[in-house]
Each structure stands twice: as C-alpha cells, then as structure tokens.
C-alpha cells in the first residue's frame, strides 16, 4: 500500500494526463474488442443478438470455415495487392507533394496547398458519386479524355485487374492530402539554420534533400508509414461504394468481406473471426515496422 502511494505521488502527473484518454479507449475500444473476441467463437446472429439463449459456442469452427472460404482467401490476396501497390505510392506522392509545396511561399503555393488537400476532406458518399461518373465507360470523363489521344475506352470498374487499380487511384487521390500535410508540418519544423550550415559547407541541393530533409522527416515518415499501412490493410470504403467487391470478387477486401458477413448477412460470429485474422495481419505489419525503425524512433 505504502509502495503504491509512493508510486502514485511520484507519477501522478503523467497518469492524470493520460487517464481520461485511456479510460475512453478502454471502454470504447478494448472492451468491445474483447467482446468481439468472445463472439468469434460463437454462432451469434440476429436471433442471438435479440435473445442470448440462442447463442451457442462453436469453438474454432468459424476460423476453420474462413480458411476454406474461397472469397475470404481471395480477399486476403486482394488486400495484399492493395497494400503492396498503394502504400509506397501514397508515401512517395505525399512526400513529393509536401516538398513541392514547401518549395515556395508565394500566394500560388498557398492556394495549391488547399487544392492538394481538398480530396481528403470530401465526404466519401460524394466521392463515390463523382468518381463513379468519372469511371463510367459510357458517359465518364476519363474515357472521354482517352478518346482525345485515340486510346480505346476502358472498362475501369468492370475489368478484374483494372478495377483494383482504379480503386487504388481513387484512394491515392483521396488519402494523399492528410499525409502530405503531416509531412508539411514536419518540414516546417526543420530549422533553416541546418540548411544554411550545409550551404556554407558546400552541399548542393540534392545532397541537402537527401542528407538533411529526408532523414529529418524520419518520424513523420514513420508515422505516415504506419498509419497508411494500417489504413490500407483495412481498405474498405472505396470498394464498398464503388464496386461492392465485384466483378467476381476481384476487388473484395478483407474489411469489406467482414462488413458483408456481419452487417449484410448478420453472421456476427463469422465476421468477428474474420476481423481477428485481419487484426493479426495488422499487428504483424506494425511490429515489423517498429523493428525496422526502432533505431531512430526516438532521437
């Protein structure tokens, strides 16, 4: 008791600082996920939700079923595709955009900052409507633009391979802004004096970019990489609003698979099991990130 009191008086400041946040996260994230974990070993559906006596435990059945489900396996492959193609593109493009925007301070640069950011702030429902039209093979702007260069019309959302890329393009457009602004804030934090010193030492522009700017963007890059990675593993909204997973499940992501089973078909147990598989993938990816960047997280 004495010990605890001593600990408390010593550390109460940080504890009080994190207490409200931690409490909310425990109540609204950790406890629900534990509930979901329990659910994943049951056959709960809507009838079970209405009356708990309708629920029965099924052990690992849901998990076994999952890995026999060709749609789920396909969704794993698709998700991997989204991550491998999408994540590097987001990071490279948003960093380049930030560097470009940080280049000047004139009115033009300020205006374009808003423009680059606009997609991120647009409501997904609106995005779906607008892009649905852009991609329409008949009335869409993209095919119209291709026709200027005599390129034949594409089936942006109907062709199995192209559909995945179309969704990635749309997601890139939408998610660049947020990351760009994080890079931009980090760039603002690099003291001018570093560059001045380097210039005096005779470093050229490229050297300054690769030996000062990029390394000093370390923590921003780390942050963006982790959040982007997690975001793309949970890739969901774009296929939901654009293709519903079609054609032939070629754009089905894991998160969409979970949503379909949980909310369209009310197989909560199955969906919960699916989301734990997804959860494990995310944890694995994050741990790898942390290991890789361990050395310069805290500097």
């Amino acid at each position: 008791m004495q010990h605890i009191w001593k600990q408390w008086t010593k550390y109460r400041v940080p504890y009080l600082f994190i207490a409200p946040t931690l409490l909310l996260l425990i109540v609204f994230s950790i406890i629900p996920i534990l509930i979901a974990l329990v659910i994943s070993f049951t056959d709960i559906d809507l009838a079970g939700l209405a009356d708990y006596s309708n629920i029965s435990a099924v052990g690992f059945d849901n998990f076994v079923q999952l890995f026999k489900d060709p749609v789920f396996l396909k969704s794993i492959y698709n998700t991997a595709f989204y991550v491998v193609v999408g994540v590097p593109l987001v990071i490279i493009l948003s960093m380049s955009a930030a560097l470009l925007l940080n280049y000047g301070t004139g009115r033009l640069f300020k205006t374009f900052r808003v423009i680059y950011y606009m997609p991120s702030i647009t409501n997904i429902v609106a995005v779906a409507v607008v892009w649905g039209y852009l991609y329409n093979s008949q009335y869409g702007l993209f095919n119209h633009m291709l026709s200027w260069f005599d390129i034949p019309a594409q089936k942006w959302l109907q062709d199995p391979v192209l559909a995945k890329l179309s969704l990635i393009l749309m997601a890139l457009w939408k998610s660049m802004g947020v990351n760009m602004i994080i890079f931009l804030a980090a760039l603002q934090g690099i003291p001018r004096t570093y560059y001045e010193a380097a210039e005096i030492d005779g470093a050229n522009k490229r050297q300054r970019l690769f030996y000062i700017t990029v390394p000093l963007l370390g923590f921003a890059t780390f942050f963006v990489t982790i959040t982007t990675l997690i975001g793309w593993i949970q890739f969901f909204e774009e296929p939901l609003v654009m293709t519903k997973g079609g054609p032939l499940n070629e754009t089905m992501s894991m998160a969409l698979f979970i949503y379909n089973n949980g909310f369209q078909l009310s197989n909560f147990g199955y969906a919960a099991a699916g989301s734990f598989v997804l959860f494990l993938f995310i944890i694995a990816a994050t741990i790898i990130q942390f290991i890789v960047r361990k050395k310069d997280v805290e500097y």
């Binding site: 207490a19 409200p20 093979s137 054609p247 909310f263 369209q264 009310s266």
Partner: protein
C-alpha cells in the same frame, strides 16, 4: 502544486460527469399527456410520411405520430442495433426481404389477435403474393404497406419495327425481338438484364416452373427447370444481346434506343418521365413474357409492430389506418408507390396504362423465398450467375456447386 493536481482531478471528474449526464431515451408522453407513437420509415418515405399522418393525428386527438426517417443504405444496421438493445420504435417499416430474419429474432409482434378488431388487416384485402409476406412461423408479423413488382418496359416504336408492337408475349418472342433489335447495328442491344439484382434469375426460374427452394428447405438450383432458365439467360450474353457490364445509364440508353427493353419496378416510370420527356408516348410497360407462367416477383414494404413496444394497441390502430383504401390512394399520389390493398386498384388513378400493367402483374406474382437464409443464398446466386455470364463457367457445373453451397447454408 496541490491546487494544480486538484485541477487535474477535476478535469477527470468532468469527463465522468459528461459520460453520465444526459437524459436517456425518449419519453413516451409529451408534456400535455399526448401519447407519442414512434414510426421508423426509410429514405424518401420517411420524409414524406409526416405529411400523410397529419390527418390521422387530427382524427385521433391525444396521439402524436413521430416519424423518423432512416437512410435506405443503413436501415439494416439501424434495425439491428434496435433489436440488440431491445429499444426502438413502435411501428417499423420492413422491407419484405428482411421480415424472416427479424421475425426469427422475435423482433416483430404477432398481430394475429388484432385481426378481428381491425378488419383492414385481413389477408383477403391484399394481393396473394403480398399475403405470403405477412406470415412467419404461423404468426402474422407484417401488414403490406405498399408493393412493387417487375414488368417489362419497352420502346413501342422500336419494338413495332421488330414486329412486336405490343411487346414480346413469350420467352421465344423476347429472344427473337432481342435478336432483331441487336441486329440494328453496332452498339445496339436488345435488352438489359441486371444480373446483380437478386430477383432477376428468380423471375426466370419461376416462369420455367422452378421453385428455387422447396417446402422441405431443399434447394432446386440444379434441377432441369432452373438450369434451363439459366441457359436461356446465358444465351443473351453469348449472342451479345445484352450490354456487357452495366455501365450504361438505363434511362439514357432507353431514350436513345441503345437498350429498347428492360425489366424493372414501378419507380422507373417516374424516372423515365422525368429524365427522358423526349420519348413520351413512345414507350410502355407490359407484363412479363410467358414460358410456363409469367410470374414476377412481389416486394415492397410491410408495416410491423416492434415487439418491445409499450403501445401495441395504438400501433396496430395506426397500421390499420395505413391500410385503408383512401390512405393507400393518397400515399400513391404522394410517394408514387403501388397500393397493396386490392380494392384501391379499382380507382381511376390506377387505370393509367403504364401503371395498370403493374396491377395485372401483381395478380401473377410471388415473393422471394421467405426464409432468413435467403439473403445469403441470393448473394451466392448473384456470384454464380456472374461466373456463368461474365466468367464463362459451365452452367451445369456452376449450378451444381451453387446447389451444394445453398444446401450448406440451409443446413446450418
């Protein structure tokens, strides 16, 4: 220093109080002792309904109808949470395809005992197809509010050129007309068939005498009747009579003649009129072409009483009002949805030819299989049909697989 930590503690305390304060739930009575009946209705219906119920409120002083509009896309989520928390509305609009699932979860009150007192709710008032959606497990769980069915829309001018001025009457006619219309030239089609609509394949199965799922809960997807209907549909893809990928805007394609026929519900009447006024008088609706029958689907919405209501009597009384012929006709004018009450169809307003075909079709209509697994099976059907038409899978092999899958779903 002490004061500072006190401040911090206060902040934490504030958080708790924020979490705990707040009046919970809506009270069932307003300040002047009026009863408030809570009604959930979807999308546009929910937004128009308050206008309709004004009259009811005048006739029934002391009762207030509180309508909450819920977006269609999220209605299922919202209903699920209501079931989970056992708190929700008193009266609820139920898409007919959801009824088995929610009835199975005991979320809908059995209305059998109220039928005597409210003759408006009796089965003989409604279309046969709609009556099949009222009952689940021998209980009456929903009263048809409005209905919809699918008919054939066609361009009278173009079909006349193809030799079918009154529209195709049989499957053979439909095929022949589609071929002739496709032969008009590059980029022209005969018809569009929406394979992603779960009811499409069912329609053709029924018309060929298949039952989809029989009374013993056995799927019939690899039986000759069903297989034949899918082969018939597949031929439209094989011969290029339907556009690949559904990227054409239906109304626009209908207007410029690219797609001179399509199968759809009553909502398209308004859409075509509004977006393609140029072709007024050049299009019509007609009942589905016949093979063994010309069965179409029946859907729409029922009104149900949520099982956790405290005002069941009031709720049933309200539903009874909604089933009156006059209310139904008024609602038809306001919301453009088709009356479920047969008698309403004798009214002049529903004699207009475009609408009258729907009345005729409703006589030959049946609901989608009324089991809670249907939604899951329907998704499997859509996937298989896509494999067959787009993925070029072998019909019999794919349907055998589908049948096995459906068996698995039904045996759970």
């Amino acid at each position: 220093m002490k004061r500072k930590s006190l401040l911090l503690a206060l902040t934490v305390l504030l958080m708790f109080s924020v979490a705990l304060v707040g009046c919970s739930g809506g009270s069932k009575e307003t300040a002047d002792g009026e009863k408030v009946l809570k009604v959930w209705a979807m999308g546009g219906e929910g937004q128009k309904l308050p206008e309709l119920v004004k009259q009811y409120e005048q006739q029934n002083p002391g009762v207030k109808i509180d309508v909450q509009a819920i977006p269609w896309g999220n209605a299922h989520d919202k209903l699920m949470t209501a079931v989970a928390s056992k708190s929700g509305p008193d009266v609820i609009q139920m898409g007919t395809s959801w009824i088995p699932e929610f009835a199975n979860a005991n979320a809908l009150l059995d209305l059998t005992s109220y039928m005597e007192k409210h003759p408006n709710l009796k089965e003989e008032n409604f279309f046969d197809g709609a009556v099949q959606t009222m009952k689940h497990d021998g209980k009456v769980v929903g009263i048809p509010w409005y209905v919809e069915t699918r008919v054939l829309y066609y361009r009278t001018d173009l079909l006349a050129e193809a030799g079918y001025p009154e529209g195709p009457k049989t499957w053979d006619d439909l095929k022949d007309a589609s071929k002739k219309l496709t032969a008009r030239g590059e980029g022209k089609y005969g018809i569009t068939i929406d394979g992603r609509d779960q009811i499409t394949t069912a329609l053709f199965g029924w018309q060929n005498g298949s039952d989809l799922i029989n009374d013993q809960r056995e799927p019939l997807f690899n039986q000759p009747e069903y297989v034949e209907s899918i082969e018939y549909l597949k031929s439209f893809w094989d011969e290029g009579l339907v556009p690949q990928g559904l990227d054409l805007d239906l109304t626009a394609a209908f207007k410029d003649g690219t797609i001179p026929m399509f199968i759809s519900g009553p909502w398209m009447i308004g859409t075509v009129k509004e977006k393609a006024p140029e072709i007024d008088g050049k299009w019509a609706t007609v009942v589905m072409p016949t093979k063994k029958t010309n069965t179409s689907s029946i859907g729409g919405s029922n009104l149900s009483v949520f099982s956790h209501t405290k005002m069941a009597d009031e709720a049933v009384k309200f539903i009874s009002y909604m089933s009156e012929k006059e209310t139904q006709l008024k609602w038809y004018e306001m919301a453009n949805t088709l009356p479920s009450v047969k008698e309403a169809w004798n009214d002049e307003k529903l004699k207009e030819p475009l609408v009258a075909s729907f009345g005729k079709q409703l006589e030959h209509s049946r609901p989608a299989p009324f089991i809670k697994e249907w939604e899951t099976i329907a998704q499997a059907i859509i996937a298989s049909f896509e494999q067959i038409t787009v993925g070029d899978a072998d019909v019999k092999t794919e349907l055998d697989a589908l049948n096995e899958k459906a068996k698995g779903i039904l045996s759970k």
